[in-house]
């Protein structure tokens, strides 16, 4: 062993003296897992490697999804521009008109919008965010050697990978990928002949998402049982870092909502492939009544949104958890209202299951029933506000380190407030009559979910990059990235609220044939330019990310941020099983910052004589 390695493996005296000996090396596992390239990097069962796999797959998908959005934004801003320069990438989807003017095929425009939504919602912000950080942080922060079932955990990633492959493949089929919107409403989705994308493209889309559900369930079962059963000695539930709470609640929501999506998809698959009529009724094609009746397209919407709404919290809760943890560490203050944070997450989790039809106010839901959905929806504002105030109070009077991850935390709170406010508008069914299916809704969910969740993810990546890759990301570049991103995000989505209130509908190919919307041409161009700039700002992150994996400043000490949670007691270069020898035993909660004149007190440090437990 080299000197560096020895220093690396040197045991923390607190763990050596007070740790718990679980006879790790006497067990059959140990390093047997990682004996060759294949089992170390590809079919790894180590949670840290699986986290990296999730993250990198997520980054790749994020780039693909963002590029798609640029293409359709260009279409919206400059519908008459010649885009033949896109032909090398999009091939036949750029049709050449008179004089070689290239136009984006309208059908493909819809396909791009659909794929953008699907990819970002499911592959980036669900798998890429919760998959990465649940895997990385749950075992390390609760003091476990690995997930409860490393094997199922590996399967979870590979189902996601398979699902990714199928979706990727669907981009290249000759009839084009699915084009009916990420919500896949019938009848467009139930009738393969409805549009070219509803054929093979949608079949692949459905296969991909069913595989995705399997992946989510395998992951979720693991996260839940790991948090329950594998906490180290002393790690009571009330001592868990808020990240772990967030991942736990997320996994529970996913476990209960994704199966219902699967039910909806199975029925849809039957309608498409076997000619049943679960979702079809009263359809006229070219004036002829279709012989498939007795079902209801609204049924699919109910099944879809029973997942769909919880899904938005599946996306945002991990970001909330990450923000709470990172913010406390870099404000050098205990998180304000720890228990209120937990209870608000639990109540958000519960409420998210009873509000789904607020997406369907305009679909013809019974108006009497809508009243209840309005009330339940507006109640969600309460726990959301509790969280916001707790973050603000945590920041207030803190000894802030304004590094990149902290900036992203603050940006998250800003975005969440902005988007939450518009949510309250939309939650009122009467107001929603005006705003449904306009750019106001697009602005709402991009701000509150899209950007906010990305900010949480960035905060997490910048903060835990040293645990993932043993090096730091460049902070200066990170700050530039942050400022460009937050300004860009507001520049893109701010004006969208305005044009949405002006009545501009979403999912239209071009607006210049409508007199009413002509006034917004300039704003649409502004939005597109802002989007392009913001996209290039993200390249700073990508460059920083990959450059830092190999060339970043090396992590030299175990606990660079002076953090309390257990992942920072593991060796600098992470090892299989996380701790070389004994497991740390937890003595206190994760947020003893600035207590009794001490900057921070790690979780495995025993209470001192006369010290008060500050965890409640």
């Amino acid at each position: 062993m080299s000197v560096v390695q020895q220093k690396n493996m040197e045991t923390d005296p607190l763990i050596r003296d007070l740790g718990h000996d679980d006879h790790f090396h006497a067990h059959h596992h140990g390093d047997k897992y990682q004996t060759n390239f294949l089992t170390t990097y590809i079919f790894s069962q180590d949670h840290k490697m699986i986290a990296r796999q999730y993250l990198i797959t997520g980054v790749v998908w994020a780039i693909v999804g963002a590029l798609m959005s640029l293409v359709f934004r260009i279409q919206l801003a400059y519908p008459d521009a010649d885009v033949s320069w896109l032909r090398p990438f999009l091939g036949k989807w750029i049709t050449l008109g008179d004089g070689g003017v290239g136009r984006l095929d309208p059908e493909f425009y819809y396909a791009l919008v659909t794929m953008h939504g699907t990819i970002l919602v499911f592959f980036v912000l669900t798998a890429g965010l919760s998959g990465t950080f649940s895997n990385l942080l749950i075992p390390m922060q609760i003091g476990a050697r690995d997930m409860a079932s490393p094997f199922l955990n590996m399967l979870s990633y590979w189902f996601f990978f398979l699902s990714s492959l199928v979706m990727m493949y669907s981009l290249f089929v000759s009839t084009g990928p699915f084009s009916g919107g990420w919500t896949a409403y019938p009848p467009l989705s139930a009738l393969p002949q409805a549009s070219s994308g509803s054929g093979a493209g949608l079949t692949l889309w459905l296969v991909s998402l069913v595989l995705f559900v399997v992946s989510i369930l395998l992951g979720g079962l693991n996260y839940i049982t790991t948090v329950l059963n594998l906490r180290t000695k002393g790690m009571t539930m009330w001592r868990l870092p808020l990240t772990v709470w967030a991942f736990l609640v997320t996994a529970i929501i996913a476990l209960l909502s994704f199966p219902v999506l699967a039910s909806g998809f199975f029925l849809l698959i039957f309608d498409r492939s076997l000619g049943t009529s679960f979702y079809l009724s009263d359809i006229f094609i070219n004036g002829q009544a279709l012989d498939r009746i007795g079902g209801s397209p609204i049924l699919f919407q109910h099944l879809f949104w029973f997942l769909g709404h919880p899904e938005v919290y599946i996306i945002i809760l991990p970001a909330m958890g990450i923000v709470s943890e990172v913010m406390a560490v870099h404000a050098r203050k205990p998180i304000f209202g720890y228990r209120a944070m937990v209870y608000s997450m639990l109540s958000i989790g519960f409420l998210s299951f009873i509000v789904w039809a607020h997406h369907m106010f305009m679909s013809g839901v019974n108006p009497f029933l809508s009243n209840f959905f309005v009330i339940f929806t507006l109640i969600i504002a309460v726990p959301s506000a509790v969280k916001v105030f707790n973050w603000l109070t945590t920041l207030y009077g803190g000894n802030l380190r304004l590094n990149t991850q902290m900036l992203f935390c603050i940006g998250f709170v800003s975005m969440f407030i902005s988007g939450g406010l518009t949510g309250i508008f939309l939650g009122n069914s009467t107001i929603d009559i005006q705003q449904h299916d306009t750019y106001f809704v697009v602005a709402h969910f991009h701000v509150v979910m899209g950007v906010a969740a990305f900010f949480g993810m960035f905060a997490g990546v910048y903060n835990w990059f040293p645990k993932l890759f043993g090096r730091f990301m460049n902070d200066t570049l990170g700050k530039i990235h942050f400022w460009l991103t937050i300004i860009g995000a507001y520049a893109v989505f701010g004006p969208m609220h305005y044009i949405g209130l002006g009545g501009v509908p979403r999912r239209y190919y071009r607006f210049d044939n409508f007199d009413a919307f002509r006034d917004f041409d300039d704003l649409n161009q502004f939005i597109t330019i802002a989007a392009i700039v913001t996209f290039f700002a993200q390249l700073l992150f990508v460059v920083n990310f990959f450059w830092s994996i190999w060339k970043g400043r090396k992590l030299t000490e175990k606990n660079p941020y002076g953090s309390n949670s257990l992942e920072w007691t593991t060796p600098v270069n992470t090892i299989h099983g996380n701790w070389p020898d004994k497991l740390p035993v937890v003595q206190r909660w994760a947020y003893d910052y600035g207590k009794d004149g001490k900057d921070f007190i790690p979780q495995h440090k025993p209470m001192e004589e006369g010290e008060e437990d500050s965890s409640h």
Partner: protein, 160 residues
């Protein structure tokens, strides 16, 4: 996990068979009695019949979960963590069924709309509708089956 001794546990298993079997037979009996198969001309009112069958089925479910799946011998926390989430389904059931009922009423209401305002015009013949493998809700929609035929009348938007 054996909280009962072997003999007692065995008895629980066989008692389970008897209980579930008897309850099932009672359920079927209620169904047949209620619908007039057993005593000629005797019917049970639907709410009574449905409610008793639902309650008996819930009892069967309870028995399977608590005895066969050993839930009775698990810690209360586990019991709660598995059973509480199913409470969510109550609201789902209310909302979905209410919606289904709404679809029905709106289709009924659509029947009241004057024929010329409907998408498919009525065929105007005796009501002797050519048979398609379609369901009886069809006449309710005011969309007679023959409008599906090419020679049928198109909707107003296609008439000229």
């Amino acid at each position: 996990m054996a909280h009962l001794n072997y003999e007692a546990a065995k008895r629980v298993a066989y008692r389970g068979f008897v209980i579930l079997g008897v309850v099932t037979i009672v359920e079927v009996f209620i169904a047949l009695l209620g619908k007039g198969y057993i005593v000629d001309g005797f019917h049970l009112s639907r709410p009574v019949m449905y409610l008793s069958m639902i309650c008996l089925s819930l009892y069967k479910a309870y028995y399977i979960i608590f005895e066969f799946m050993h839930m009775r011998y698990e810690l209360p926390g586990l019991v709660r963590s598995v059973l509480f989430p199913t409470i969510l389904l109550i609201w789902v059931i209310i909302a979905f069924f209410y919606e289904g009922d709404t679809w029905f009423h709106w289709r009924e209401a659509a029947r009241e709309i004057p024929a010329e305002m409907q998408l498919g015009k009525p065929s105007g013949n005796s009501g002797l509708v050519p048979v398609h493998p379609t369901d009886s809700t069809e006449s309710v929609h005011g969309v007679p089956a023959d409008s599906a035929k090419p020679e049928g009348h198109g909707g107003p938007s296609h008439s000229h």
